[in-house]
């Protein structure tokens, strides 16, 4: 139960942060990516703000042997730079540039009653299922 409340709290703060920073504003996202046009570098400061906190907090948190409510930390131990990582990131970046939404803002904007967000979330899921089907097929 506690873990569920923590997830809820964490989600709410995340949603507030996305909204305040305007990551939820696709026009602003596209203006951020538009470096040769009317460039708006604001969203670089979102990452800066987040990393200023997490660079310190993750060091402190990961010094603990385990998390407060769970038996162990769930961390990826992979270090290989493989083709799926880079091709996937490139495909994601293209979709981000076309739509102006990455997954977090797409979900958060459901709370602002945005029809674009609904379309975005449904098509992200169709992409998930398509990719899963593709990877099963190729095995």
């Amino acid at each position: 139960m506690k873990k569920i409340l923590i997830a809820l709290l964490s989600g709410i703060i995340f949603g507030l942060g996305l909204s305040l920073s305007q990551m939820t504003n696709p026009n602003k996202v596209i203006n951020f990516l538009d470096i040769t046009g009317q460039w708006d570098p604001s969203l670089a400061f979102v990452m800066m703000g987040a990393l200023l906190v997490t660079f310190i907090s993750f060091r402190v948190v990961l010094k603990r042997p385990d998390p407060v409510l769970e038996e162990s930390f769930h961390l990826s131990k992979r270090t290989d730079i493989d083709k799926p990582l880079l091709v996937g990131a490139a495909i994601f970046g293209i979709g981000w540039g076309i739509s102006g939404y990455c997954p977090g803002p797409a979900v958060a904007n459901l709370g602002a009653g945005s029809i674009e967000a609904l379309v975005m979330v449904l098509s992200i899921y169709s992409g998930f299922f398509f990719q899963k089907w593709l990877s099963h097929k190729s095995q």
């Binding site: 964490s10 989600g11 507030l16 596209i30 990452m47 987040a50 990131a89 490139a90 981000w96 992200i124």
Partner: protein, 139 residues
């Protein structure tokens, strides 16, 4: 440059940093939104619930923000929904293939000094910028 908002962007980013720190400290989880979205349909029952509440929190957070300051930014009007759908589909494929998005790689992974996340972030940022350049300035 237009609508440069470094302060709200930075504060919003710091809130996102706080959110991912809480989830890591208590639940031992990296708050990667695309992974959490995907896990909603591919996990055992007790793993589904926290993911579901996190995503609900995300929506509630954006909803609360919208209630407090409805005029914070003007929602995008008249953008073709089929473009959003194509973008979303690519975001879905890309984030699965590349194991993460802006939050998982861009914030959590980089804070954890993951080489994979640094490469992923550089790739999706570049791809996003090239895509916007292509759409806005060449097409």
């Amino acid at each position: 440059m237009e609508d440069f908002t470094p302060l709200s962007a930075m504060l919003g980013g710091a809130l996102i940093g706080l959110s991912v720190t809480i989830l890591l400290l208590f639940n031992g989880r990296m708050a990667g939104i695309s992974g959490i979205m995907n896990g909603l349909f591919n996990s055992p029952r007790d793993e589904v619930i926290w993911r579901f509440t996190f995503l609900c929190g995300l929506i509630i957070g954006a909803f609360i923000f919208q209630l407090i300051s409805p005029d914070f930014f003007v929602p995008r009007q008249g953008f073709p929904l089929w473009l959003v759908a194509i973008g979303g589909f690519l975001v879905g494929i890309g984030t699965r293939l590349g194991n993460g998005c802006t939050s998982g790689h861009g914030i959590c992974g980089i804070a954890n000094m993951s080489k994979r996340s640094i490469f992923s972030t550089l790739t999706f940022m570049t791809a996003g910028m090239l895509t916007v350049y292509l759409i806005k300035h060449l097409l």
